[in-house]
């Protein structure tokens, strides 16, 4: 934002008076109207807008649910049923919120894998990317605590399993867990504090999202070629091009969202969560929500408590180091024939891990989880660093314009890396 001095000129006398006191209209104009976006962006670049919409939708539905919900171990389950049966349109607000969490994660996973595919995490967008990882971790914490609030069997046992992860920490683990619980087991104090934090965290996410967008507006967006905007011909103004495209994508996404809400609102949940929490009985098969399954599979793959917890944490934390683990100077996988194959293998491994996380921890499922876990880490620790040295990338186009319109005045493509920006040259 700071790099794009605004050309905004207020038209009215009030506009001039206000702009000289709080130049917010100019900030919006330079960031979301005149801001140059690459002309070759695909619909994979609309998930930022979709995610922003989902965050607002979750906050709005959540604020209304909080008006009817009672965060007390004796009353929480009943109050959720009260929302479903008695509150006017309570069923709709709750289904929007519960399915909204899944939609949020579908969008964020597409956003993350778009970033992986097109190398958006590479210089100069490392900080932008790490802020995204922080948002993802906050989202996981928020979703987990939200799932505890209905105080059904999966809520209770999910909370027990996840809080017990901290007991794996040597020496202080048990103390930390009792401080998380506010008691000797998951109980009313736990529910109360989870409700408080579940209400707080989305606003922390909103804060980090603001930083994420700010960091995005410094280098501008990456694009399917991975090469930067070099001239005005490579770009179009944010409004109307990106604005309208984002709105259209949000509308299409809302149709998808509405399908779940109105036709299969409980498909992504677990029937066990309609049984009130019972500390004396564990559900036959504890499974987290689908969006945690790959990490759950990694947790269970390690036959050691502390090791499993560390592996699960490392599976996310390793993302932070990706900009430095990936040694290739070419951003876009479209120009990396070898990496393209490894990328899709990685996607497949993540999906298989997700499926394995939904299976019971027995027999060959465990062995398959272990193989996939090893591959998951090998992707980051071996494939990414090594490919940068052994792979021969395809020639990059000279400009975004050329990639869209074809080569204008003859001339072959440049050797890979020759037109990389100075800051990303080795």
């Amino acid at each position: 934002m700071s790099q794009h001095p605004t050309t905004y000129v207020p038209k009215s006398a009030f506009g001039r008076w206000f702009e000289s006191r709080l130049p917010i209209a100019g900030l919006v104009h330079s960031s979301f109207v005149a801001f140059p976006v690459p002309r070759n962006l695909t619909y994979f670049w609309t998930f930022g807008a979709i995610l922003s919409f989902m965050l607002v939708a979750q906050i709005v539905t959540g604020v209304f649910l909080a008006m009817y919900y009672t965060p007390n171990a004796g009353m929480a389950f009943q109050s959720v049923e009260h929302i479903m049966r008695d509150v006017n349109y309570g069923w709709l607000i709750r289904y929007l919120h519960a399915n909204g969490a899944s939609m949020f994660f579908i969008a964020v996973y597409l956003h993350i894998f778009r970033n992986f595919y097109y190398g958006s995490y590479k210089a100069p967008r490392e900080v932008l990317y790490i802020l995204g990882v922080i948002i993802f971790i906050l989202m996981m914490a928020t979703a987990f605590m939200g799932y505890v609030l209905p105080w059904g069997q999966m809520s209770f046992w999910g909370a027990t399993v996840i809080t017990n992860l901290f007991s794996a920490i040597p020496l202080v683990g048990e103390t930390i867990v009792s401080y998380l619980w506010g008691g000797y087991s998951v109980g009313n104090p736990t529910l109360n504090r989870f409700f408080s934090l579940h209400y707080l965290l989305p606003f922390m996410i909103a804060g980090v999202v603001a930083l994420h967008i700010w960091a995005l507006h410094v280098p501008g967006q990456n694009n399917p070629t991975g090469i930067p905007i070099k001239s005005g011909k490579d770009a179009v103004p944010f409004t109307p091009y990106a604005t309208i495209k984002d709105i259209f994508a949000v509308v299409v996404f809302l149709i998808f969202f509405a399908y779940w809400v109105f036709y299969m609102p409980n498909y992504l949940g677990h029937a066990d969560n309609y049984i009130p929490a019972n500390p004396a009985v564990t559900p036959a098969h504890i499974v987290p929500e689908w969006y945690f399954l790959p990490f759950y599979a990694i947790l269970r793959a390690i036959p050691d408590k502390l090791g499993g917890v560390l592996a699960m944490g490392a599976a996310i934390v390793i993302w932070v180091f990706m900009p430095w683990l990936d040694t290739s100077k070419v951003r876009s996988t479209a120009y990396r024939p070898l990496y393209k194959q490894f990328f899709w293998v990685f996607v497949a491994v993540c999906l298989v891990l997700g499926w394995l996380g939904s299976r019971p921890a027995e027999g060959w499922y465990v062995i398959a989880s272990q193989i996939c876990t090893v591959y998951y880490f090998a992707h980051f620790l071996i494939v990414l660093p090594v490919l940068g040295f052994v792979e021969r990338p395809l020639p990059l186009p000279n400009s975004i314009l050329e990639s869209v319109m074809g080569v204008q005045k003859g001339g072959a493509g440049m050797p890979a890396g020759a037109n990389a920006e100075p800051q990303s040259k080795g």
């Binding site: 046992w157 027990t160 399993v161 809080t163 017990n164 992860l165 009792s178 401080y179 998380l180 619980w181 506010g182 008691g183 000797y184 087991s185 998951v186 109980g187 104090p189 504090r193 500390p279 004396a280 009985v281 564990t282 559900p283 036959a284 098969h285 504890i286 269970r300 390690i302 036959p303 050691d304 408590k305 502390l306 499993g308 019971p360 921890a361 027995e362 465990v366």
Partner: protein, 182 residues
């Protein structure tokens, strides 16, 4: 004027005040964190509700496992059959993940009564009784196996089911939460 600018090493009263104020603010701020963190710990009512509980053993038939709660935690009281006691005793202790003889997990002369916490030591699920390879417990969550002494025999659980503090008040009554005095 020139003289004052060359003497830089001498700390002044202002420097002292600056450091003292900063230190007071830092220590004060750090101290204020304490009550907030402590408020997260189990509160007085929760601690009071954690007093020892009495359990009557008379109605528990041989082979039966009874679930009781103490401090919100599940506890299994298992009235073991002679076969189960023998199976628990006839184990090469050195071969166990968490080596402990069966005799150390029951009270002297009360080998038929096994009292253990009912949450798996992996991640806290409730293992199913009379099942698993050793007919002790089997945890359906992540596959940990426990024998008739509540010792871990397989799966990800790192240690045996722990023994809560308890004492026999009489042959048919235990007080859970009370350390044995005699």
């Amino acid at each position: 004027m020139a003289e004052t600018t060359t003497h830089v090493a001498e700390p002044t009263r202002r420097d002292f005040l600056y450091i003292a104020t900063g230190a007071a603010a830092a220590i004060g701020g750090a101290t204020l964190v304490w009550p907030f963190v402590q408020s997260l710990a189990p509160d007085a009512a929760t601690v009071a509700a954690g007093a020892p509980v009495e359990v009557d053993l008379a109605p528990i038939a041989e082979g039966q496992i009874v679930k009781v709660f103490w401090r919100g935690k599940l506890i299994f009281i298992r009235h073991r059959t002679p076969d189960e006691i023998k199976a628990a005793a006839d184990v090469n202790v050195a071969s166990l993940r968490d080596p402990q003889p069966d005799a150390a997990r029951v009270k002297d002369g009360k080998a038929q009564w096994l009292v253990v916490y009912g949450n798996c030591t992996h991640l806290g699920c409730v293992p199913l009784g009379n099942s698993g390879e050793y007919n002790g417990w089997f945890c359906p969550c992540h596959g940990s196996v426990f024998d008739t002494s509540g010792r871990v025999r397989g799966g990800p659980a790192p240690i045996n089911l722990p023994i809560p503090p308890y004492a026999f008040a009489s042959d048919t009554k235990v007080i859970i939460g009370q350390e044995a005095t005699a």
